[in-house]
């Protein structure tokens, strides 16, 4: 990362950090910064929480009862 403002650099690296696609050097650079900057730390925590929330909400969508039976029926009728 070639950004001189470390907070800007942390913001640019946030998604790749959470995706675990950074190099070990980049990871340690960000972690050193997060260790000393509560501004960025709060925002990293928030982003991780947001991802969890999106995943939990959407994966909790109820699946209609009898879906598989209706699929089988549909495929028998049309297949």
């Amino acid at each position: 990362m070639t950004v001189t403002d470390p907070c800007k650099g942390a913001e640019l690296g946030l998604q790749a950090y959470l995706d675990r696609t950074l190099t070990p050097d980049e990871v340690s650079m960000i972690e050193v910064h997060l260790g000393e900057c509560s501004y960025c730390r709060d925002r990293y925590h928030f982003e991780a929480k947001l991802r969890d929330t999106v995943r939990t909400v959407c994966c909790g969508d109820p699946v209609p009862e009898g879906l598989v039976d209706r699929v089988r029926l549909h495929c028998r009728d049309c297949g």
Partner: protein
């Protein structure tokens, strides 16, 4: 509603390619087919949730899932055993969805939106909300997140849906979408930023 969609299933149709002699080979074939159907149907919940977030309606989602299985069962021989069955099914589902979107001329487009940085939602909440940001998130959870996801343009939404809802790896998502892994990641990053902007909009509306 999805019945009769143009056949862009991403799989090779091999109907009529049946074994001519209905003896032991066909009995084994029938067993394979039953096993294939059972294996495929084990992914019904996962496919339904993807379909729900793509179409936005429970009825369309169920129709999309039914049509996906219909095509999958018809072309089951083109599935290469040992490869990712869920990803194979998701590819069919997504192609049917795109066909339908095209027929209704809702062709997914990349919309140009002013894009904010990754701290945008947090900063917005920090300026406007009277409660801690994570508390806002807990309160927003549910309806607002689903609605905000629906606000994200389809090109970006489908990547979020495949990765976060479908649980597919970037590599699988790249195969399903037929784009390079780098494209999956850039669309995912952009989609996540757009989702945060949509959420910020919702908290703004909430206050008004």
């Amino acid at each position: 509603m999805f019945v009769g969609a143009d056949s862009v299933t991403g799989v090779t149709e091999r109907e009529g390619n049946r074994v001519a002699d209905p003896t032991m080979a066909s009995a084994a074939d029938a067993r394979d087919r039953v096993r294939f159907e059972d294996d495929a149907l084990a992914h019904a919940d996962q496919l339904y949730r993807i379909a729900l977030r793509l179409t936005g309606s429970t009825q369309s989602a169920e129709e999309l899932v039914q049509e996906t299985y219909l095509r999958a069962f018809r072309s089951w021989r083109s599935y290469a055993t040992g490869t990712n069955l869920a990803a194979w099914l998701a590819t069919i589902l997504r192609n049917i969805y795109l066909d339908e979107a095209r027929r209704q001329s809702r062709r997914p487009v990349i919309e140009s939106l002013d894009e904010q940085g990754d701290y945008y939602l947090y900063n917005h909440l920090a300026e406007t909300a009277k409660e801690p940001q994570e508390a806002v998130l807990n309160r927003l959870a549910g309806g607002a997140i689903v609605d905000s996801l629906a606000d994200v343009p389809p090109t970006f939404r489908e990547v979020i849906v495949l990765v976060d809802v479908g649980g597919f790896s970037y590599k699988d998502a790249a195969e399903i979408l037929d784009v390079p892994v780098g494209t999956v990641m850039s669309r995912l990053h952009r989609g996540r930023r757009l989702l945060k902007q949509a959420l910020a909009e919702r908290t703004r509306e909430e206050k008004e």
